[in-house]
């Protein structure tokens, strides 16, 4: 099959059995790869008992999937998925790096893990030589130490087993830190120190399987394609356009730590109590002083929007990470009352090392600090830590407690939504109004109150991935920010930051054809292929899991705080209008083919051949009718 390595690997960690899995061309044409394919396989294998599956139990599946465009569309990524420990639905969470390239060069389009290893293991792939190896020497180690040992062991193994070939380039790795090992629902699957698939909580899922890492070395080429000449031409076009986004190349998303707050009033400040700040100490110019590499990127990327920052002196000395990017800047900066670049670099490097997601981690640290501010949680609840706004050391200590699940960390490791439920019970106070989440997933650092940022009213409430700012629902459905389009990037699997330009973006349909030979039009993608994926994801989300379920319509809402007016700045007084939000939400339901409760309609599902999904959610429709919500 053109564009595909042609096989997937099914690994049962309970038994150690591994077998190759293949999918019909028809399935791959319909579900491509990455997020869409993970959705399809999850539904086929677990859909019948979806509500009963514990995301952190051995039955859940962990996917590490590429797509046919990975390595060809500039900026390849890996899609991590499974039943989400955060939403109980399905999230396609992507991470950059060379791992997906190595995997495809080894002959695999993806890996599917099930079961649970008896002891910590890592999987080592060298082409078709594949082995589960003991990981006890790295279990408990932070991310940087983990990667160091993996690179050493991996290269050592290659040098000793395959002699006489010359020096071996290191295998690529994805791995978890201590937070993942401790099954935190806000742990990420990480790579290259600072890269993370954070949304979904798949670090915790990986940890629940006792899988510390996967290492891949592929010595073959990327798969054969339909028309390499055409692929090269499209790559050249995307390169040319990307080279022209000069400001984005210069600062990456890291110019926004000041600007999104100061110019757009949509940045989380002190757990979203405010969204505006004018802290010039947090300007891009101040971050630049810490850069030791001005362009850093991953396989095939023309933009190289990352920058390596290091703090060389002072109390934060020794911290290394990428720039940080905007999400980490916001959530581990102003959201915690921190406005010094060195403190943000320090917190980001620590979050990397612990294997937490910067967004989910920063969100819950801010949430905890607000509960402290309001006197709901006191010093004794925090084992002596006082999370005051701006106290970097206190936040660092709290992040470590969360990763280790010690003290209050046991509650906070469950993520903001579940922690809010638990703390409300513990303290007899409803703390949910301070939880800035959607469907159990912390909302990305782009607010909607000022109306100046890219997410719209419907973005987080109607997204099948909750608060994920890289998978926003959007009207009209063919808009460039539409979730239907995000499904393409997550299923392709590649970075859409190289496709900001319209001509580059429009070339994607030609690229799909040049790689796979399939003619897929934008129309077919938006009306059929991606629509199927969103409906299955929506059905899974509404079916929920053993610990919690979302009530249709009622949970399609924004955090209570966003109905309150912005307290400061040029957009002071602006808030979300409840009636307007409801109107837009209903419009979205109608446009996408969901009924008045947000449940996919029967005729829409049948139109797409999803009769089994239709049957599965019939009971849900009846329940909603009965309860009259």
């Amino acid at each position: 099959m053109l564009g595909y390595a042609g096989k997937f690997l099914d690994v049962d960690l309970s038994t150690g059995n591994m077998k190759e899995a293949k999918f019909d061309e028809q399935i791959l044409r319909q579900y491509m790869g990455g997020r869409a394919l993970a959705t399809k396989i999850l539904w086929d294998r677990l859909g019948r008992r979806w509500e009963e599956i514990d995301p952190l139990g051995p039955e859940n599946l962990l996917f590490l999937l590429t797509g046919p465009l990975t390595g060809f569309a500039p900026g390849g990524r890996l899609c991590v998925s499974g039943k989400s420990p955060q939403s109980n639905g399905i999230v396609g969470s992507t991470v950059a790096g060379e791992f997906p390239i190595e995997l495809r060069c080894a002959g695999y389009d993806g890996l599917i893990f099930t079961g649970k290893a008896e002891k910590p293991v890592y999987l080592f792939i060298k082409d078709s030589d594949i082995e589960l190896k003991n990981a006890s020497q790295i279990w408990g180690k932070n991310a940087k130490e983990t990667l160091k040992v993996l690179v050493r062991e991996g290269r050592g193994e290659l040098e000793s087993r395959y002699k006489g070939k010359g020096l071996w380039k290191e295998p690529a790795a994805v791995y978890i830190g201590p937070a993942g090992e401790n099954r935190s629902r806000i742990a990420a699957v990480t790579a290259k120190w600072a890269h993370a698939a954070g949304y979904g909580g798949y670090g915790g899922l990986m940890g629940s399987k006792n899988l510390k890492a996967v290492l891949a070395k592929g010595t073959g080429p990327l798969p054969d394609v339909a028309d390499m000449g055409k692929v090269e031409k499209i790559i050249d076009l995307v390169l040319k356009k990307s080279f022209k986004s000069t400001t984005f190349r210069r600062w990456g998303t890291g110019a926004a730590g000041y600007d999104v707050g100061a110019r757009q009033s949509s940045e989380p400040v002190r757990n979203w109590q405010e969204e505006w700040h004018d802290e010039k100490s947090y300007g891009a110019n101040e971050f630049e002083k810490f850069w030791v590499k001005r362009f850093w990127g991953d396989f095939g990327c023309p933009t190289t929007c990352l920058k390596i920052a290091i703090v060389r002196e002072g109390p934060m000395k020794g911290a290394i990470t990428d720039n940080p990017d905007y999400e980490n800047q916001a959530y581990l900066g102003p959201n915690l009352g921190l406005f010094k670049p060195e403190e943000n670099i320090y917190m980001t490097a620590l979050i990397d090392d612990l294997g937490l997601c910067g967004i989910q981690g920063g969100n819950i640290l801010g949430f905890a600090a607000e509960l402290y501010q309001r006197g709901i949680l006191a010093k004794k609840d925090f084992d002596g830590i006082e999370p005051k706004w701006g106290d970097v050391k206190a936040f660092a200590a709290l992040a470590e407690l969360i990763a280790e699940r010690k003290g209050i960390g046991e509650v906070l490791a469950e993520g903001t939504y579940r922690a809010a439920l638990e703390i409300s019970k513990m303290k007899g106070v409803d703390v949910m109004p301070y939880a800035i989440v959607s469907k159990g997933i912390a909302i990305g650092a782009h607010g909607i109150r000022s109306g100046e940022d890219y997410p719209a009213l419907e973005s987080y409430v109607c997204s099948v991935q909750g608060g994920d700012h890289t998978s926003t629902a959007y009207l009209p459905l063919d808009h460039e920010n539409s979730e239907l389009r995000m499904v393409l990037y997550d299923s392709g699997v590649f970075c859409w930051f190289n496709f900001f330009n319209k001509e580059a973006r429009d070339s994607l349909w030609d690229l799909i054809e040049a790689v796979t030979g399939w003619k897929i039009s934008a129309e077919e993608w938006l009306n059929i292929i991606a629509r199927r994926v969103l409906h299955i994801q929506r059905a899974a989300l509404l079916l929920g899991g053993p610990d919690l379920k979302w009530t249709p319509r009622r949970h399609d809402d924004i955090p209570e705080r966003w109905y309150e007016p912005l307290p400061k700045g040029p957009y002071k007084g602006k808030a979300v209008d409840r009636a307007k939000l409801e109107e837009v939400r209903n419009e979205y339901y109608e446009a996408i083919g969901w009924d008045e409760n947000g449940i996919p309609k029967s005729d829409e599902l049948k139109r797409l051949g999803l009769d089994d999904v239709d049957k599965r959610i019939e009971e849900l429709r009846r329940q909603v009718r009965r309860s009259g919500t």
Partner: protein, 175 residues
């Protein structure tokens, strides 16, 4: 010397973005495919952020050529690059042992050693690197007075140098 101008590829590791565009264009040009492990320039990343494009330095005394027991290696008169005769090469690996930087390697699927041929004098990797404004690889005029062999170093050694330069001495422990 024929008197014509030869080029040499200078390398500034601290500027390497790790985009691996050099591997892509090299393998497309030599193999017709995107094939990182068959690229004549290979980017090692033994520590994140410390990317090392590893390629032939064209030593003035060509120890690899001397070491070949079957005469499969020769020096191009046009470019002074090392040329591998794929038919003659037995993939014995003696050239790898002889190279001070352990640059050559055996092709992943074929039976011959792989060494940079300077694309006949206009290296595609250099062009790709310049297009993106990274300039980690740049062509210089190859002067007889300079000892290019000094650049034939193992990626491990280069990594330690670049860690010290970018991160500081104490970060050597991360490797």
């Amino acid at each position: 010397m024929s008197g014509e101008e030869h080029v040499w590829i200078a390398r500034d590791y601290a500027k390497c973005s790790g985009c691996r565009r050099c591997e892509i264009v090299c393998s497309l040009s030599h193999e017709g495919k995107i094939w990182p492990d068959a690229s004549r320039v290979r980017v090692f990343m033994l520590v994140p952020g410390i990317e090392v494009p590893h390629l032939c330095a064209q030593c003035h005394d060509y120890p690899c050529v001397d070491s070949c027991p079957v005469g499969a290696l020769s020096v191009s008169k046009e470019t002074e690059a090392v040329l591998v005769d794929k038919e003659k090469c037995t993939a014995c690996g003696k050239c790898i042992d002889a190279c001070p930087g352990k640059v050559p390697f055996i092709h992943p699927t074929e039976n011959y050693a792989v060494i940079c041929d300077l694309c006949g004098g206009e290296p595609k990797c250099v062009k790709a690197c310049a297009e993106g404004g990274w300039y980690a690889l740049q062509t210089l005029k190859r002067e007889e007075t300079h000892t290019f062999k000094l650049y034939a170093k193992k990626p491990e050694d280069i990594t330690l140098d670049v860690i010290t330069q970018l991160y500081g001495e104490e970060w050597k422990e991360m490797f």
